[in-house]
Amino acid sequence: MSELTELCDETLAARAKNGDRAAFDILCDRYLPIVCRRLRVLLPVSAVEDVAQEVFVAVVRSIKSYREDAQFRTWVAAIIRHKVADYYRSEQRSPQTVELDPAIHSPSAGSEAWRDQTVALMALQQLKAEYQEVILLRFAEGLPFKGVAESLGVSLEAAKSRYRRAIQALAEALGVEQPDSVVGA
């Protein structure tokens, strides 16, 4: 088992694909915190546990279709995205049907409510998958930008540039006013 823990995700996934349960258990241990953190950013708290279970069941059921040349993290991220979309679909919500409450549409109307709007909008795929991914890598997984770039397979500059576009897109999707003012130094 200790020998297995030293293997990279992709090797463990390849073993799990061939029926190695011990390898799969190590992957589960590694990814459970990551999956939960991502889901907590994307979903209401009450939905996280159920969707987390669905994600892992989907991973088991699809492991035979995993291709060894793909990054396991990216592969799991796609499964998470689908399960989150399923959740919102089952709740009969969609980017077209969700109506923002005018009372909480503005960030100034209460940060808690506004955060919920962020959650809903992100999860409802208002953001492109690549934008959602860069935000989740930085905020949910806590990777530094260098790690984000490595995970995305792009240069550091490209990762930062994509991050800027993602934040701008999210701000626009949320309907945040765009005053001329700047914040900071």
Partner: protein
């Protein structure tokens, strides 16, 4: 061409380069701002207000999400669901053994000549072992038994060979 010898396309290219440079600087500033917020430091760079607000909201949510951890109850629930799903996908130990046996035998199924050869060897061994009518009876074998017993056991051996070949050729 203007007084400095620049063409319109030169100017366009220069504007594009400046815009790209400016966007890269903005991206760098936003990344630095985000790092400061996530590390609890006072940001030393300026970013547009709507971006700053969005970063703060995400940072607050992410901090809460990281602080919660994974409960033992959720771990147990996931393990139970994974166990059930794993059995569905990979089967139980018994079905795994059968699967491996089937895989090993599938090679023979693809090469009928070898399958026939193996069947003949099995049959020959069985016949040599079984047909010794003159000897005294040995319990648990056909040795010394009557003709009907020998026939039944030969038929049984052939049925087993057919079953194995059938299993091997199943997709």
């Amino acid at each position: 061409m203007d007084g400095n010898g620049k063409t319109a396309s030169d100017e366009k290219a220069q504007r594009r380069a400046e815009a790209a440079e400016s966007q890269a600087a903005d991206a760098e500033a936003l990344a630095a701002y985000t790092d400061a917020v996530l590390e609890g430091r006072e940001p030393t760079v300026a970013v547009p207000a709507e971006q700053a607000k969005t970063v703060h909201v995400l940072a607050t949510r992410a901090a809460a999400s990281r602080a919660e951890g994974v409960s033992p109850r959720l771990r147990r629930l996931i393990k139970e669901r994974v166990d059930a799903a794993w059995r569905e996908v990979h089967g139980t130990t018994w079905t795994q053994v059968l699967g491996r046996l089937r895989g090993a035998l599938r090679g023979y199924a693809r090469r009928p000549v070898w399958a026939v050869a193996v069947a003949l060897v099995v049959f020959a061994l069985a016949a040599a072992f079984l047909v010794e009518p003159d000897r005294q009876a040995i319990p648990g074998t056909a040795v010394g038994s009557g003709d009907l017993g020998v026939v039944l056991i030969v038929v049984g051996v052939l049925a087993v060979v057919a079953l194995v070949l059938g299993l091997a050729s199943r997709r």
